[in-house]
Amino acid sequence: MRRAVRAASVMLYLCATPLIAQEPAPFTLRDVFVNLRAAADRVNFASSNAASDAHMRALESYFDRVRLLDASLGQVIDVYVGRAMDLPTIAGWNRDRWSVGIVDSITTVRLIANGELYPMLRDKLPKSARDSLWPPLDTLQDKLTAVQLAANKDNLRRFFIKYGPDAPRLNAAEVLLNYVAQLWIPGFLPSVNGRPTPNELVATYRTTDLTATRGTSGPFQARVVTSAQLGLRRYNFGVDCGTGRFADLLRPCQQSAGGFLVGRGDTPLNNPWQLRHRGGVYWARGKYHVGAIFGSDRQFVFGVDQQLLPYIF
């Protein structure tokens, strides 16, 4: 049933797309080449730079062969920056043609156009002539800068999820562990384009966790215990993280899980080096965490992530 509904939705989307797309004749890659050829002819580019002129015309044939010549410039930029294509793009042409060669070829066209041909136009043609020849190239550049500006803003948004005032503070041990992890463990470095890694190591010592235990004959009593966590935190960089009611539980910007240690007795302010007597696992969402202690003395522990002494615990 779900499959049928999904298939119907896709069909409906594909049918509706031509009706929704009302933009007046967007430029295609073919327009780029038509105008480049016209510009090259105006300044006799073939005689001053025969190799690049021939290269440019060969690239036009190449894009024709891979059926990208009639793609809109928005679709071309999607391919160029490696952004996931939308459904009409996928339906419109062969995904197998999406290759590194295409990206390099688009770069070469832009290098010849902006790096070699345009300086000649500026020297030899008035602004009005340049304005009539360059709109498809302007549109290509405009779409590229729009996509990249959005991408850079998104990287900064992610950065502030990880480093903003609502993000967990690291203690000295965690700073050291994460620093070493950046040097040695894959997955703990940002991307080369500046996107922060969602991974962070956790090594905390907490003195204010709560548990409930029953004495030999009495009712359950809440007690403060000392605990330690050693685990992995994953940031959720979703645009809606941390929003809405009960955000920490329903849409947390980070959660973590790992090993959990408590001391021999349910007492606060235990020496952190003596927290190896009882162990289990913990799971944290937002600033709340629960831990389960295994063994003969099973217990559940609840706590809130908060550093009482900055950078220590």
Binding site: L111, I112, D138, F160, Y163, Q182, P196
Partner: protein, 322 residues
């Protein structure tokens, strides 16, 4: 503390200037006097220039709040200190240098600042096109000071090495009119980054450290035309400014930036010396700058002061930015 959208404004002409500040805990608006200083120098010309200012200290502060960056800072200062003598001036100069360049050790901090700078440049060029000035015809200049030079150098190197960035000089046609670098620590950072070696996370993303030589960022066309990121690159430093690679009028080869093709200015700085000792005066000035910690202040006697660099080159700036 949150994501700040890049500054955006219509262009009154075909020119724009971006200021990129250095050390300090600068909040938006703190450098307004400096902008007014440049506007006064440019006179009526200033009316036809869109002026932008990138404030990025919120990123450094966020990282410092989260990870207690002093741990890394101490390590950095020790590396720098090895190259100074053991004098009080050497120690404070090392601390001053370390205070400037600690973000180098935090990959996500320096990449976030690079991202903010790239985003601002993208917004600038989009403002220009929205105002009817094609990217290839835009005349954008950057005036950077201190650590701002490092972030600018990294952003422009990234743009030149990444044709899909939208800011590459040849493939996007985004060539600065002027890249004006005042008291640049780029060579100092290259030295320290190289000395720290594997201790610097993701060193490969620091162009000023990982490249075999320090050059003006550029892109090459298929015909072999090398298109630099700026038509004019100017490097200015004072001969009493340790961040710019000078200590008491002596050029420190390991710290002074020499980009092939740069136009160089070495300002002859003067100190009103204490008890006849320039060294003691410089120690006091650098020490007070370290202890400041607040918004940057204009201190006429500080050899690293941005306002003084601008004032000394008022006539040059007017010519370059015309």
């Amino acid at each position: 503390m949150s994501v700040q959208d890049p500054q955006s404004q219509p262009w009154p002409g075909d020119r724009a200037i971006l200021f990129v500040h250095g050390i300090g805990n600068a909040q938006p608006g703190d450098y307004t006097p400096l902008v007014q200083q440049l506007q006064a120098i440019l006179g009526a010309e200033a009316q036809s220039i869109a002026i932008y200012f990138l404030y990025y200290d919120v990123i450094d502060q966020a990282v410092a709040d989260k990870i207690h960056a002093n741990v890394l800072f101490t390590q950095l200062v020790n590396v720098i200190r090895q190259n100074y003598d053991g004098s009080a001036l050497g120690n404070v100069a090392a601390s001053f240098g370390g205070d400037v360049i600690w973000p180098v050790l935090v990959a996500e901090a320096r990449l976030a600042i690079r991202t903010a700078l790239v985003a601002q440049l993208l917004q600038i060029t989009r403002d220009g096109t929205s105002s009817g000035v094609r990217t290839n015809d835009q005349r954008v200049s950057i005036i950077a000071h201190s650590m701002g030079n490092f972030h600018t150098y990294e952003a422009l190197s990234y743009a030149a090495a990444t044709p899909t960035s939208g800011l590459s000089p040849a493939s996007s046609g985004f060539v600065l009119d002027n890249l004006i670098m005042m008291a640049s620590p780029v060579q100092l950072i290259r030295y320290v980054g190289t000395a720290l070696g594997g201790a610097v996370p993701q060193q490969s993303t620091i162009y000023s450290v990982s490249r075999p030589s320090l050059d003006i960022p550029s892109e090459t066309t298929p015909s072999g035309i090398v298109v630099p990121c700026a038509r004019r690159t100017v490097a200015i430093t004072g001969n009493l400014d340790p961040v710019g690679g000078y200590l008491l009028r002596k050029q420190l080869d390991w710290a002074y930036m020499k980009l092939p093709g740069q136009t160089t200015f070495i300002d002859q700085e003067q100190l009103a010396s204490v008890n006849g000792s320039e060294s003691l005066t410089l120690v006091n000035i650098l020490q007070s700058a370290l202890q400041n910690g607040g918004p940057p202040t204009i201190t006429p006697n500080n050899p690293h002061d941005w306002g003084q660099y601008v004032q000394r080159h008022a006539a040059d700036l007017k010519g370059w930015l015309a």
